[in-house]
């Protein structure tokens, strides 16, 4: 037996997410119990002290988000996890983390909403909230895994992106992926890249906390308690970190927040194409729906229909370029998603009328089965 097969085991998606966090170097978790994400907290309550990390169950979702930002400022890679109602409450301090550029990972195991909705019912209904949930213009990174293996590996990647770009990264799971168990091969230590945040190379007296040092526009970040006394605020500020209400300063701050992400798109955007070479119909899917779509592609191909899939691993920023290129080749696009039309509208706007775009939208707490996608393929062909 080789090393990888020794490490193969059955694992739940939520657990893989928690184990991925440990692998990435996460050493702080604050959270509040909520279905269907609670297993992530339960696993980390047990696992974090084993690696010298800290777990705390906070008094509410708002406090959990606040605590991980505080912890991250001391240098600890930090995470929280939640679901719909909790994700709504996190938005306040999520915006704080974006503006003050504090790395952290927020997992949302999506369930059916709005409000209390369907606590154990899967959904993909928080995609637009992930983009625009907190107030004001802001960039965000959101990724969505489709397998238990990917729950692990994408969590590692989420931490890397967060530390690299100093921005919260949202891990958009869904109840199906979070709760299902499947085979996973735990990567050996060192097998996956781990990114450590850039810290200042200058002396404390020379440190300008928000002054970029290179074209990435991502400034080095000093940990609290290491001699670099600086100010962190949720107010728009200049490179020194102190607030300003000068339109020039406030505008420049906002622009840099967006521009640093735009410059990093090559690292941030992740998609996977399957059978797109000669496809007439393109399925665009993510999360658990990508599994249903993959089956539909297989069965459609078996019938001789030319169908391919673009799987979105990164959802925000939206992979517009990949989609535009495929839109040049295909005759129709179908977007099956477990909401009443969120990604489908972004797809429409990205392809700008070049090809017809159809949604298969359903928000009843069931995954959309391959049969419904196959019916739609028949219809559009």
């Amino acid at each position: 037996m080789n090393v990888t097969s020794i490490n193969a085991r059955l694992m739940q998606g939520n657990q893989a997410c928690a184990e991925g966090a440990i692998y990435a170097g996460a050493r702080f978790y604050a959270g509040y119990p909520i279905t269907p994400s609670t297993e992530i907290a339960e696993v980390l309550a047990e696992r974090l002290p084993q690696v010298g990390g800290k777990f705390i169950q906070m008094e509410d979702e708002i406090a959990s988000m606040a605590a991980i930002v505080g912890a991250s400022l001391t240098g600890a890679k930090s995470m929280t996890a939640t679901s719909g109602p909790g994700f709504s409450l996190k938005q306040e301090n999520l915006g704080y983390a974006v503006l003050s550029e504090v790395p952290c990972v927020v997992v949302n195991v999506q369930r059916l909403g709005p409000s209390t909705g369907g606590p154990t019912a899967p959904s993909q209904g928080d995609i637009m909230q992930a983009r625009w949930g907190t107030h004001g213009d802001h960039p965000i990174i959101a990724v969505s895994p489709s397998s238990v293996q990917e729950c692990f590996e994408l969590t590692v990647k989420a931490f890397n992106l967060s530390e690299r770009f100093r921005i919260p990264v949202l891990m958009m799971l869904d109840e199906v992926i979070g709760h299902m168990r499947e085979r996973i091969v735990i990567p050996a230590p060192g097998e996956l890249d781990i990114f450590e945040r850039k810290t200042p190379e200058v002396a404390p007296s020379q440190y300008v906390p928000y002054e970029p040092q290179d074209d990435s526009l991502v400034p080095p970040m000093a940990n609290f308690g290491e001699g670099y006394r600086y100010h962190v605020t949720g107010l728009l500020h200049d490179d020194t970190g102190f607030p300003s209400n000068s339109p020039a300063v406030m505008g420049a701050h906002q622009d840099r927040l967006h521009e640093k992400i735009r410059r990093g798109l090559n690292e941030i955007i992740m998609v996977e194409e399957a059978e797109t070479e000669d496809a007439d119909v393109l399925l665009v899917a993510f999360g658990c729906m990508a599994r249903s779509a993959a089956r539909a592609v297989k069965e459609a191909r078996a019938k001789g229909q030319k169908v391919g899939m673009l799987r979105l691993i990164t959802i925000w920023p939206f992979p517009e370029e990949a989609l535009r290129q495929l839109a040049e080749k295909v005759k129709a696009i179908i977007v099956p998603e477990m909401n009443l039309g969120q990604v489908v509208d972004v797809v429409k706007s990205a392809v700008e009328g070049k090809v017809p775009v159809y949604g298969i939208c359903q928000a009843d707490g069931e995954i959309i089965p391959p049969e419904r996608i196959l019916e739609k393929i028949e219809e559009v062909l």
């Binding site: 085991r9 059955l10 709760h179 499947e182 085979r183 993959a294 297989k298 049969e371």
Partner: protein, 183 residues
Amino acid sequence: MRDSWEIRLGGSGGQGLITGGIILAEAAILEGKQAVQSQSYGPESRGGSSKAEVIISKESIDYMKVRAADLLLVMSPEAAKKYVDDVKEEGIIILDSTYVKDCEPKKGKVYKVDISRIARQDVGREVVANIVALGVIVGLTGVVSREALEKAILARVPKGTEEMNKKALAAGFQAIKSAVSAA
């Protein structure tokens, strides 16, 4: 063995079917196969209806839900009513005849085994009915090897209950052998 099995286990909460599904999936992985296990929760963790699904395949598995089952096990009358039609024409249906009576499925090959009674009377505790059921399933289909199944069971059950669970497994294998030869 065939390349792929879609298995559905239905019954009441507390019958250990989700654990049963997990053990079956773990056994498949021990053999180097692919497996996906998913479940639906009733609001009640005990007494409500419960469903576990397992797909075992030599190939990688895309869609994770069971569509029409290759094998259905039902251990309660409610589950029988709910799932008995979602079986492939040539599928297998195992009824726990301790609880499921008056059920005549229209399709599939049906085996009636007194699973819960065997657990209670022959093994000594009804709580191991899920393990008896796994013995029945694997004895009938060979979906995983008996060795892998036993290993997966022993890794999962509480310390001190190993012997009882082995006995339950053996009882399951024996019961299906008798049922097949009687048929």
